[in-house]
């Protein structure tokens, strides 16, 4: 029988049962990061979370939105675009993945340097932890220090502590002007650093190598300039002064983003920090059933 709970209560009961039976569960919303470099034990049973979808609350004037975690990043982008807004997640891997997975994996993207990491953009979550308890830390307002920060804890926990069902996010107004340029240069990394430190920094710059943007595309730096018209005009001058700059389509970012994949890095942790990590896992998933193998 496929595990596809239709409500938080059903999800809680699925997880409670699995915990009692010590049966591993593999959390799947859209299934786009399953090759994210962090193997979930092969015998874990798929738990489909696609029922937790759609906009739950969106008041454009608040510049915040609450969505079901299985909503795709592309859908979030389309919904907010209607009101001239966006949530600049733009994760590596593309926009097909779910908002929940983007938060769960804390996958950033080219905009993160200027506009924030997932941990900076998420305001609150609803999730069901490995004991079957439903947690609703954080909220939907842009400043909130009430209680210990389970939101940051869940962000980047790779579904190993809880299944996220709902996410509240900070939005921004879409910039009035938003342009992408390709600067042809063999010193792209230096240029990126220089532009980021200029008075008119781009919102994204990524080094591209020959062929990344299509057959015969050159080595260079892909730069995204955004702001009001006067700001972008000044930023454009700086880019032109840096080398041979060609106007590129916004779609140039797609191959750059899809070329990278979210990765659960396994850098060595200090033993004391490792012990805290183990303690966290034990506190929220004592039976070790959520995405087993991924964080420990």
């Amino acid at each position: 029988m496929t595990l596809r709970p239709a409500s938080v209560a059903e999800l809680a009961s699925v997880i409670t049962d699995a915990a009692a039976a010590r049966r591993g569960l593999r959390l799947i919303a859209r299934g786009t990061w399953l090759d994210g470099g962090a193997p979930v034990s092969a015998d874990a049973e798929p738990l489909y979370l696609d029922a937790f979808d759609g906009i739950i609350e969106y008041e454009p004037g608040d510049l915040t939105i609450t969505v079901g975690a299985a909503m795709s990043v592309a859908e979030l982008d389309a919904a907010t675009a209607q009101h001239g807004q966006w949530c600049p997640l733009a994760p590596w891997g593309g926009d097909d993945g779910s908002v929940g997975a983007t938060i769960a994996t804390a996958t950033a993207g080219p905009l993160a340097h200027a506009l924030g990491l997932p941990r900076d953009l998420v305001l609150g979550v609803e999730c069901v932890d490995g004991t079957g308890k439903t947690l609703r830390p954080g909220g939907k307002v842009v400043k909130n220090v009430a209680g210990f920060d389970l939101v940051r804890l869940m962000t980047g926990s790779w579904g190993s502590l809880a299944a996220i069902t709902r996410v509240s996010l900070r939005l921004r107004a879409r910039p009035a002007v938003d342009e992408t340029w390709l600067v042809v240069t063999d010193a792209a990394a230096d240029l990126c650093q220089r532009l980021r430190r200029s008075v008119t920094p781009p919102i994204a710059c990524e080094v591209v190598t020959r062929g990344t943007l299509g057959a015969n595309s050159p080595d260079g730096l892909l730069v995204r300039l955004a702001g009001n018209a006067a700001y972008v005009a000044a930023a454009r001058d700086a880019v032109h002064g840096a080398g041979d700059a060609q106007r590129a389509d916004a779609s140039a970012w797609t191959p750059v983003r899809t070329a990278a994949r979210p990765q659960a890095t396994r850098a060595m942790l200090d033993p004391a920090v490792r012990a805290l990590n183990d303690g966290v896992k034990h506190a929220f998933d004592p039976s070790g059933i959520l995405n087993p193998g991924i964080m420990g």
Binding site: E59, G61, K133, L135, V145, G147, F148, N228, A235, A283
Partner: protein, 480 residues
Amino acid sequence: MTLAASLRAIVGDTHVLERAAELLVYESDGLPGYHRTPSLAVFPANADEALAVVRTLASAGVPYVPRGAGTGLSGGALADGAVLLGLHRLKKIIAIDPERRVARVEPGVVNVSLTKAATKFGLHYAPDPSSQTACTLGGNLAENAGGPHCLKYGVTLNHVVAAKVALPDGTVVELNADDSGYDLLGAFVGSEGCFGTALELTVKLTPNPERVVTLLADFTSIDDAAQTVSAIIAAGILPAALEMMDRATVGAVEASIYAAGYPTDAAAVLLVEVDGAAAGLDEDVQGVDRICRAHGARDVRIATEPAARAKLWQGRKKAFGAMGRLAPHLVVQDAVVPRTKLPSLLAQISAIGAANGVQVCNVFHAGDGNLHPNIPYNANDRDEADRVHHAMVAIMQACIDAGGTITGEHGVGLDKLRYMDALFTADTLDGMCRLRDVFDPDRRANPGKVVPIRYCRERRPNTQMAEGGRRMADATGGQL
């Protein structure tokens, strides 16, 4: 050897206080109205001494409360029979790396001192709580402090890169923002001293903007001012700061030595700061000016010179101080609502104040929806104190009902414990207790704060709680 003697052996005789008269200084923090007396107070000079103190307290199984400058506004640094661990002597700026734009500091460094030290590199530390001339970076870390410029630049969480932390059991851990594994640094920021004590922090430094313009718009209707806030945000302009002060606050400021030249007959003023590259800034300034006037602003003053800007800011930054002239005590409140709810909340707050016969002074981070309704009063007048209490409970409930939260930057401490279960489910509060127990299974670090004790009761800590901690639990019971 007594505990005091052990601690004296670490920090020296003069840096341990035991006598009631000496401890009196530490019975309150920045929030008047609460008094708790520590059993003793200890003030290490450096990270090594601080760690030795933490380890001594751990071996003795004694609860303790870390304290920076004691400017907190939620009673978070109060120690009821616990040991007060003062960290203000750890005030070394260890290193500033202008290339990487980070600074390594000890926790007792005063917020504004870091900005002063970074100025020669064209950098500053962005989170700027109003108490920044006194509050410490360690306290900012513990509270996840905000400030006016957090609207554009983010709160403390967004600016801390790493922390070297003494866990309550005396283990030292280095938590880094880019560690693999769980975001333990993110969990530590804002943990109000309950997860351990930072011995060292690494924070981001932000380049000074090329140009800064400060606008002061005055309104004859508080509702117009509130609508203007939403309109500026909705127009896609992201000011560096967007602050509001009502008539009562302006009156208090203008009658004080902090007078900034605000119009005293205005129902509300907005202080708007726009900063960044010179290119494009005028467009944003004109946009703000236009939106203010379209929403009924009588006048919009524009200050570009540092002295003129500083004067406009002084009244805002010193508003709490100015309110001190109005009455012997002041409730400083802190709540956040969705920004579109500001007009309705301000109307409700005004009605609640009138119904309870108390004067509410609003001075707040409007752009974030972060309200600070403050009530000057005399705590020795029982009847007035009761009315203030009723008004505050009603205001907080109104904020929760509007989809907001009970604290945006001051923390829960002792003062907000009573609202936690109106905001969070029992399961969520239990989850918070579980996270706390990972860092502090004995619950000795700042006991009785943040999460009402009764939600942690089923989950007993794995060792016996020391006497002071038990007293704290009984004294608060989550119902102050």
